[in-house]
């Protein structure tokens, strides 16, 4: 204290400073702006997600009989060119090769393939939805893991929903494949698999889409 008083006396005419000295912060702000812009542009804020897929064992025996699937439950989904989906039900038998069933055309929109799948899969979807709702409203208290397990068990026990065979025509793209697999998840389809397209299905798509046929008839 003593010192300060002394100073005041010695200072005489000097005005006491009221403000702290101003530092020019403009360059600092400039630099920070630049850094912020840099980090905002380079950083990936939302990490990409993953979708798990399990492929069946590679079939090594060419003479092995294909697995038996109930024809009434089979839904063939063919991913066509130009983001179109072609659908037919059931199985094409050998005697039908000259008279192939017509294809139903649809698309990846919510009113297209999703509506159709939900109609076919309503019973299972309702079951799954009920459980999810019970958990959401707090009627049923189980952990997230057991909820997943319950859903998986429901899918396993499902005996009425469609069995979807996903086939891709050669002009389809990767986005289509992911979209359709995603659609299976959304609709809670229990059984679906990615299978190779057959020559008659290629032919059916080509007829439906009006493109020149390149399908080669497989020899039996």
């Amino acid at each position: 204290m003593a010192e300060i008083i002394q100073e005041e006396k010695a200072g005489g005419k000097k005005k006491a400073k009221k403000h702290a000295p101003h530092i020019d912060m403009t360059p600092m702000v400039d630099l920070m702006c630049l850094l912020i812009t840099f980090f905002m542009l380079t950083s990936a804020l939302n990490k990409p997600k993953i979708m798990e897929i399990v492929l069946p064992e590679k079939q090594t025996d060419p003479n092995a009989a294909p697995p038996k699937i109930a024809a009434a439950r089979t839904l063939n989904v063919i991913l066509g060119p130009d983001n179109k989906i072609y659908i037919y039900h059931g199985v094409v038998k050998e005697e039908d090769y000259s008279n192939l069933p017509p294809l139903e055309e649809t698309d990846y929109s919510p009113t297209g393939i999703r509506k159709m799948l939900l109609e076919r899969n309503r019973a299972l979807f309702k079951k799954i939805d009920d459980v999810s709702n019970q958990v959401l409203t707090g009627k049923l208290v189980i952990s997230q893991d057991s909820l997943q397990a319950v859903k998986r068990q429901m899918k396993k026990d499902d005996g009425t929903g469609p069995i979807v065979l996903i086939k891709a025509y050669k002009k389809a793209n990767y986005g289509n494949v992911v979209d359709i697999l995603d659609e299976m998840n959304i609709c809670g389809v229990a059984h679906y698999m990615l299978v190779d397209i057959t020559w008659y299905e290629e032919k059916m798509v080509e007829t439906a889409a009006g493109i020149p046929s390149t399908a080669v008839v497989a020899k039996k």
């Binding site: 702000v29 850094l35 912020i36 990490k47 990409p48 997600k49 979708m51 492929l55 991913l79 002009k171």
Partner: protein, 212 residues
């Protein structure tokens, strides 16, 4: 007439709060930011409803670009003690009769992103420092049945690191035959479970919608 005195100094604006705010934002961005990987080809991944985050380590990522080239990347996250990358390259070298020197293996270890170089050009690729010259060499990993290098990459990656998880990061415009070939190769090499990298696009549907 009295003269009007013009202020000689520009008025000072107190920038302290602004600087404070900027610091906070900058700190936040610096701490949360994970650098987006510098892929050799821009890949626009499709969307899905899946909410599982991408694994950070023990991954083998196959990158499928729009122009149907295939790239591969082995990522072991923060863990650098195991040094998988040079081991895999050394194995590949043995298989394709290319001898890699210590420095070349080091260079491959440091290489930060996916690479799509056929083995015949690997030495040139590791020797060039120029990114543009490197990009020219990246013609994609051969996946033909006559020269199936991708299958060997997958095989050796799994030999060196048995815990590796396969991820596929494809552009939505990649044509299906390429995807099919890659999936077939995976299946042949007994990789049956793998992850497709997608962007999150949440969809909620309710029962009322279906009743219609």
């Amino acid at each position: 007439m009295p003269k009007i005195k013009l202020p000689t100094k520009s008025p000072h604006i107190d920038m302290t709060p602004m600087v404070d705010l900027f610091s906070v934002v900058l700190m936040f961005l610096m701490l949360t930011a994970t650098m987006s990987p510098n892929d050799p080809a821009t890949v626009d991944t499709p969307n899905s409803i899946s909410e599982k985050p991408t694994p950070n380590f023990n991954t083998m990522t196959l990158l499928l670009s729009k122009d149907d080239r295939v790239f591969i990347n082995f990522d072991n996250g923060e863990d650098t003690t195991l040094k998988f990358r040079p081991k895999i390259l050394a194995e590949m070298g043995k298989r394709y009769n290319v001898e890699f020197t210590e420095t070349e293996l080091k260079e491959f270890e440091k290489f930060p992103s996916s690479m799509g170089v056929p083995m015949s050009k690997m030495k040139d690729f590791l020797a060039t420092k120029d990114t543009k010259a490197r990009a020219l060499l990246e013609t994609g990993i051969p996946i033909d049945s006559t020269d199936n290098q991708l299958a060997d990459w997958i095989l050796f990656t799994r030999q060196v690191n048995p815990n590796v998880q396969a991820c596929i990061k494809g552009d939505s415009k990649t044509s299906y035959p390429v995807v099919k070939k890659v999936l077939d190769i995976m299946q042949e090499k007994n990789v049956k479970q793998f992850n497709l990298i997608t962007n999150l696009d949440a969809v909620k549907i309710n029962l009322a919608e279906i009743q219609k």
